[in-house]
Symmetry: C2
Subunit: 226 residues, 2 copies
């Protein structure tokens, strides 16, 4: 299939868009495409980090094993690079990545990637920019979660899913209540109670994992107030 060739790939990142014909050919030769199913572990915390991974399509959760529970740091949605910090920042992965839908990825040789950074300033700049944005997102996530109470954290998680992942106020939560707790940083019981609370107040409509945000404004207020 044509889209299997880097040059014609529909899922190019801004960085890869800066590559010229020869560089794309080189990428093609050092890029291995594969698929993961829902629930598959893509890479594991504390294991040796290996390749640069590019998510073409699908959702991947980034999670860290904490002293108490598993913590979901963020959800990556293709097309995007995955785990650049853990590949360049240390030889050992500082977090795990797990597919939460079926996921289409490319494994790119770290050496090739490094070569592009050395030789193509625009490429380096795009990657750098991504990292900066990512870092800012993490800071925000961090402060929000540290200072808000349960309702605020859950509201934020729901808004995050709606705005950043599904671009819609109506979606199917791609995880269990337990995982939602790992994302919003509260127990699964609290997630249940808080969701029912939101439902009772007509802020969301909820049926199992199917959710619709009815009162975006109010939900956003809950998130902001904490």
């Amino acid at each position: 299939m044509l889209y299997e060739i880097c040059e014609y790939c529909h899922f190019k990142s801004a960085a890869v868009e800066t590559l010229d014909y020869d560089e794309l050919k080189e990428l093609e030769g050092n890029c291995f495409k594969t698929q993961f199913s829902k629930g598959d572990l893509i890479f594991k915390q504390d294991a040796l980090s290996s390749n640069i991974i590019f998510i073409r399509e699908g959702l991947v959760k980034i999670h860290i094993k904490g002293p108490e529970r598993e913590q979901i740091i963020k959800i990556n949605k293709g097309p995007t690079f995955l785990g650049i910090p853990t590949t360049f920042g240390d030889v050992i992965n500082h977090y795990s990545a797990t597919a939460i839908t079926s996921v289409n990825v490319c494994f790119i040789s770290t050496e090739t990637f490094r070569r592009f950074i050395y030789s193509n300033g625009k490429f380096a700049y795009e990657i750098l920019n991504d990292l900066c944005k990512c870092e800012l997102h993490t800071y925000k996530y961090c402060v929000n979660h540290l200072q808000k109470q349960g309702p605020g954290r859950l509201a934020e998680a729901l808004i995050y899913l709606a705005n950043d992942i599904f671009d819609s106020n109506s979606f199917v939560i791609p995880m269990t209540r337990h995982e939602l707790g790992d994302l919003a940083c509260c127990s699964r019981e609290s997630v249940s109670r808080l969701l029912n609370e939101l439902k009772k107040d007509n802020i969301i409509h909820l049926d199992g994992k199917k959710i619709t945000i009815l009162n975006e404004k109010l939900l956003s207020q809950i998130s902001k107030r904490g």
Copy 2:
């Protein structure tokens, strides 16, 4: 003074070490040195981000205004770049930076910095590496703080100061109890109580802001357990 000239500066970062003579000359022409006193605001959250800042000497706290309190994300110790993510990631600063000792900095034109990234792959690579390490640190900080209780968080903050900032088990805490609370994410009252607890158990010696970690192992255990 010679050290005022980039070429002879003692405080070069790994990235700046990769610059050649001409590039150092260019840096020299686009680099403005200044000083901040303890307590001075270096840049402010929600203001337009302007220059790349390099800390030559001194301690700077990075903090974000949260819904409840001011949150100290980390402490930057020169020599290091400061606020690259907030300069490249967005036009508006996502956090503030305040001097907590007297601080010696260079303001570097963002344009010059960008030019180096475009034209010098090694420079770009070093910056990228820094960003990755920084991101990993943030993740760790985040999970630790989200899942630990007061004692664990405070223990972690003290170990952070001892290992990463002062390289010594005996140091003068460079901030108030209130700020220590902003770092460890608890109230100033809790900081008081927790410090006294640690003192009573002979894990630390404490006299005002002067602190000595007596039982590093135990403190680390408290931090790990939460």
